[in-house]
Subunit: 345 residues, 2 copies
């Protein structure tokens, strides 16, 4: 039994999308047990629309909802909110494995740090989605939104965290780490990048390959791309917008003429495969890496399928024992391997 909390009130389409996604997830994975936190009546009404095994979905009534405009450090005090109540359960109950939320990114991060707590030695958790790349693998982009302002020491820790994720989560032997920059040459970038480059080159235990550019994320030039949360977020969302535009163009062009409609019949499989590769709802959210249990931040505009994929991702991370593996890698390794050769301030 894998117990996963879902913040039923989080996201633009909640509770419709969160509840529908939870139902899809339990119907697909017989080991799952979902705890929905949210306004009992609203969540119950949504649940009533679907067929599912009622012994595997539970509602915890939380009358309060945090929205995108709430100040995260204040929001985290609201214990009756669907997100914060979930965090307290995640912290206190050993049998609960993970949390999925499509709600406020800020509150998710602050709650993670203040309530759930960080892996020993980690200063700042970071959002880290696994983005499908053109080599058929995935590129881990860390950070993509948790820390808008970063110092070199933080970027160096992201390199360690991302490497551990690539090893433990995807079996990559010596993950190649690139620093996201506005050019590949060593002298490129702003002072943050210039300083980080210097420190990262000296890090033992991190296979630093130098600067990479935005295009290298999807081209898969490395396994881990390290960014501050601001530019990482810009990269992730730019890619998402490009994918969305292309899906739109495909839809239009492929039904424009009789010829293309006939062609479509022959190419359905190929097109479906292409669509799947472009469908960022399948990414399964971004892992908030650096916390003691898996917390998945799903897109604010998550649809039911997005939530279902994020839940499946959370279950997978739990099954693969990713967090203990990361902790072990960090703790067991020679301390030199993770020395960040710069101060935090």
């Amino acid at each position: 039994m894998i117990k996963i909390l879902v913040d039923a009130m989080g996201g633009d389409n909640a509770p419709y999308a969160t509840v529908a996604g939870a139902v899809q997830a339990v119907n697909k994975d017989k080991e799952l047990y979902i705890i929905l936190t949210g306004r009992q009546a609203e969540v119950q009404a949504e649940l009533g629309k679907y067929k599912y095994d009622a012994s595997r979905i539970e509602i915890i009534d939380c009358p309060d909802v945090i929205d995108m405009n709430d100040v995260p450090t204040e929001a985290v005090k609201r214990k009756q909110s669907s997100l914060i109540a979930a965090y307290w359960m995640l912290k206190k109950q050993d049998d609960i494995c993970a949390l999925v939320t499509a709600g406020s990114t800020g509150a998710t991060i602050v709650g993670g740090q203040l309530i759930l707590g960080r892996i020993r030695g980690i200063k700042r958790p970071a959002l880290c989605p696994a983005i499908p790349n053109s080599r058929g693998g995935q590129t881990l982009l860390i950070d993509c939104g948790a820390n808008a302002e970063c110092k070199p020491a933080m970027l160096c820790q992201f390199a360690v965290l991302g490497s551990a994720y690539a090893k433990a989560g995807f079996g990559t032997e010596s993950p190649k780490v690139g620093l996201l920059n506005n050019g590949t040459e060593e002298h490129k970038g702003d002072p943050l990048r210039l300083e980080t480059y210097k420190y990262m080159s000296e890090m033992k235990g991190v296979n630093f390959i130098g600067n990479v550019e935005g295009r290298d994320i999807m081209l898969g030039e490395c396994d881990v791309v390290v960014a501050d949360g601001f530019s990482g977020n810009i990269a992730l969302k730019s890619i998402e917008g490009c994918g969305k535009m292309i899906l739109g163009v495909m839809k239009k062009e492929f039904s424009a003429t009789l010829g293309s409609k006939i062609g479509y019949l022959f190419m359905r499989k190929a097109i479906r495969k292409m669509r799947a590769q472009l469908d960022f709802d399948k990414v399964g959210g971004a892992l908030l890496l650096g916390l003691k249990k898996p917390v998945i931040k799903s897109h604010g505009s998550s649809k039911p399928a997005t939530i279902a994929n994020s839940i499946a991702n959370a279950a997978g991370i739990y099954r693969n024992k990713l967090i203990p593996a990361v902790e072990e890698l960090l703790a067991a390794a020679d301390i030199d391997s993770f020395t960040v050769p710069c101060n935090d301030d």
Copy 2:
């Protein structure tokens, strides 16, 4: 006759791509006259491969070449280099209309400022490509690489420059300007974004619609997206990488089975149209906006078609009298319209 300088030695594929691109351009546009700056013998050898009207392509021998690792402020002193020689000709000869280079971005920017000179009142030129969006129009992204480090006053000037470009270049009446950020809410972003948001909201003559995200560039939520050169570059190249990956997937999937091959025959037109929309070589480079004449920075990895498109773009900008129109908009307007309500430092 439209005389355009092409830095024949600039870019990864020079002089092959620059010369071939110049030939394609003159063969397509009967009004063009191209001046290639570069090593005479090498350029001549490339030119010898093609058929073209020899009275419309000229070579200026420049024995020196600036490469990506040269320090821009030093490189700009090398008057015998293909790029700097071109800049001096552009400055001194009234009948030369524009410059196209795929060479060092840094040297192109420094040369533009120190040799060619800026439009009156403009403190920093910025790279501004016109990116095709899903509304069938284009989104101007300014800056995407000229200024890695920015202050609020610079971003405010980019808003003015971008608006003038949208008006003069694309006839957009009251161009919508968005600030590229890691969320749309007013409180989002790092201190640079927070401060800029405040100032930009107070700007008269700029139709500021608030924060936009990376995805809005291609979805076309606004006409002008203002960014610092660092994150703008990340956005542009992330989009480019996504486009490249998708073209690769298309190529593979559409020839994977007999069915898809048959389908392809019916869908050729639709697929060609889709490809064209994804082909970032067609963007025609990025205008270095803020200088006294059009300077187009083409991609370092430009192929012949990319160079030809950049030349066509430069010719179009000259024909549409974009620079004088921008100057006029800046000069004629009530000074309040362009007041940047913050200091440069």
